[in-house]
């Protein structure tokens, strides 16, 4: 475990993630997250679907796959225009922070090719490579973000006890590790077999909820 990984995965790294709930705001409003137990199930569902996909994209980018091809693969795995826009906005913010932290030509090229932002996991993967991290590191940071974002947001949305939220994340730890390992294995397959080997697991309710959330007149979180 390197300090660079801790920095990249740190919620205080200035990459804008704190403004997003990972779909938790809709799920709380619609009564699907009501307590620590339902939060854990929400996180679990997100982890094994969009979390797995994002972690594999990140790992593939760290392993040296073409970031622009991965950006297209991320588009194909994100049918919701709202979630595509969110991912690109987060990618743009992460790129700014990463270029300051770990200057590299690869980050510069990605920024030049996608001035409005590449998908966040792709940027994270390229940043991890620039920071000297491994594909598994990038997968871990991304898989962890898939659960930490809703868990942190739910503390504010439900006034959930922060200790309970932390306990949810701790109990999910082994599953986060397992998903990161599966994502890294898929990324390695994708390097030899092509990007179709990347996972494409979907969570329909997250897509539908994201579109509905964006239509709310007022909301606490951006997504």
């Amino acid at each position: 475990m390197s300090a660079a990984l801790l920095l990249l995965a740190d919620g205080r790294f200035p990459a804008g993630g704190h403004a997003h709930s990972g779909g938790a705001e809709t799920a709380v409003a619609e009564g699907r997250i009501t307590d620590a137990a339902t939060l854990a199930e929400f996180c679990r569902g997100r982890l094994h679907t969009t979390g797995l996909v994002a972690a594999a994209l990140a790992a593939a980018a760290t392993a040296g796959a073409d970031p622009l091809a991965l950006d297209g693969a991320a588009d194909a795995r994100t049918p919701s225009p709202v979630l595509r826009a969110v991912s690109r906005r987060l990618g743009r913010q992460l790129l700014r922070a990463a270029r300051a932290a770990w200057p590299s030509p690869a980050l510069d090229r990605l920024g030049a090719a996608r001035p409005r932002g590449a998908h966040q996991p792709v940027v994270l993967g390229v940043a991890a490579r620039a920071a000297g991290l491994t594909p598994l590191d990038a997968a871990r940071a991304t898989a962890y973000e898939a659960v930490s974002s809703p868990a942190t947001a739910t503390v504010r949305l439900l006034a959930l006890d922060p200790f309970e939220s932390a306990a949810v994340l701790a109990r999910l730890g082994p599953e986060v590790d397992a998903v990161a390992e599966a994502a890294e294995a898929a990324a390695r397959r994708a390097l030899s077999e092509g990007l179709d080997a990347l996972p494409a697991a979907s969570a329909p309710l997250l897509d539908i909820g994201a579109e509905r959330h964006a239509a709310w007149p007022t909301r606490l979180f951006t997504s």
């Binding site: 679990r44 569902g45 997100r46 194909a76 329909p204 309710l205 539908i208 579109e211």
Partner: protein, 289 residues
């Protein structure tokens, strides 16, 4: 039957006439539609073997229509079914099915596979509107649907997945839907549900108790761009959104319903709205930036 295991192990399970092999029954259907030169559509290739039969049903000029018929109970565990549909430039085809496809547990503890390949040349029109796939208790079905669409073609694709027959727990169902337009992958989505699927599949980020999942994929349908993105409200039994895809004139409608009966009407309504000949702007239920 043990004599056929060698062939099954090599993956060569195709058996004309639906002979039951150690690995289950293979069914294959192949359809090719081309313009007939008189303004209509001809079907120079129309074959079904094993568990799948095909019938040319009604003639609705200028298009042709075909119904897939399950010739025997399928798919069971270990079965491999494959459908190939090719629609040539300017041809028009509608494919439906005679009944729902019910996945059942086989004697073998292996998953069944159902693979569909749709290929549309320029200006081809394909309506792929089969009846639902039902994952009965104890079944294990892996489906792949791959549509390769050339510029200018129109594809209307409906998929309805039902988890369990009435009142029974669902079998395992993994369904991957991939769309390429002009050679570029613009949609790649997999839904996994039921016993043995990844944890959380039925939780608040997964299906949340819904037992029917539907998708409409509309490629090249101009009316689809006028659909409101949010199709239902939180109070509705059916949850649905219409999401324009990136990089192609294509829209995916995703819907979840308590059961198959509640799913179909929303899909039909949405399809009619998307295909209306002279679509006038409808008031959106909600708009998103």
């Amino acid at each position: 039957m043990s004599g056929e295991r060698g062939a099954a192990a090599t993956g060569d399970e195709r058996t004309a006439g639906g002979v039951r092999t150690a690995s289950g029954v293979t069914g294959a259907a192949r359809i090719r539609a081309v313009p007939d030169g008189r303004g209509g559509t001809a079907l120079p290739l129309l074959t079904g073997e094993g568990a799948l039969a095909v019938r040319r049903t009604r003639t609705a000029p200028p298009g042709a229509a075909v119904t897939l018929v399950g010739a025997m109970s399928a798919p069971l565990g270990g079965d491999r079914l494959r459908v190939d549909v090719e629609v040539g430039a300017g041809a028009r085809l509608t494919v439906g099915s005679a009944a729902a496809t019910v996945a059942l547990p086989g004697r073998e503890r292996r998953p069944a596979a159902y693979d569909v390949r749709l290929t549309l040349a320029e200006d081809a029109v394909l309506h792929w509107l089969p009846e639902p796939v039902i994952a009965a208790a104890g079944s294990d079905l892996r489906m792949t649907m791959r549509a390769e669409v050339a510029p200018g073609a129109l594809l209307v694709l409906r998929e309805e997945l039902v988890l369990g027959r009435h009142g029974e727990p669902p079998g395992r169902l993994v369904s991957r839907l991939t769309l390429t337009v002009d050679g570029r992958t613009v949609l790649d989505q997999e839904l996994a549900a039921g016993r043995g699927a990844a944890p959380g599949w039925d939780g608040p980020a997964g299906l949340a108790g819904h037992r029917a999942a539907g998708q409409l994929l509309l490629v090249g349908a101009e009316g689809a761009t006028l659909l409101p993105r949010v199709l239902t409200t939180r109070a509705d039994a059916v949850q649905a959104a219409a999401t324009p895809l990136a990089g192609a004139p294509a829209t995916l409608v995703t819907a979840l319903a308590p059961d198959a009966r509640e799913l179909r009407p929303l899909l039909i309504r949405t399809l009619h709205a998307a295909l209306a000949p002279s679509p006038h702007p409808r008031p959106a239920l909600a708009t998103a930036p």
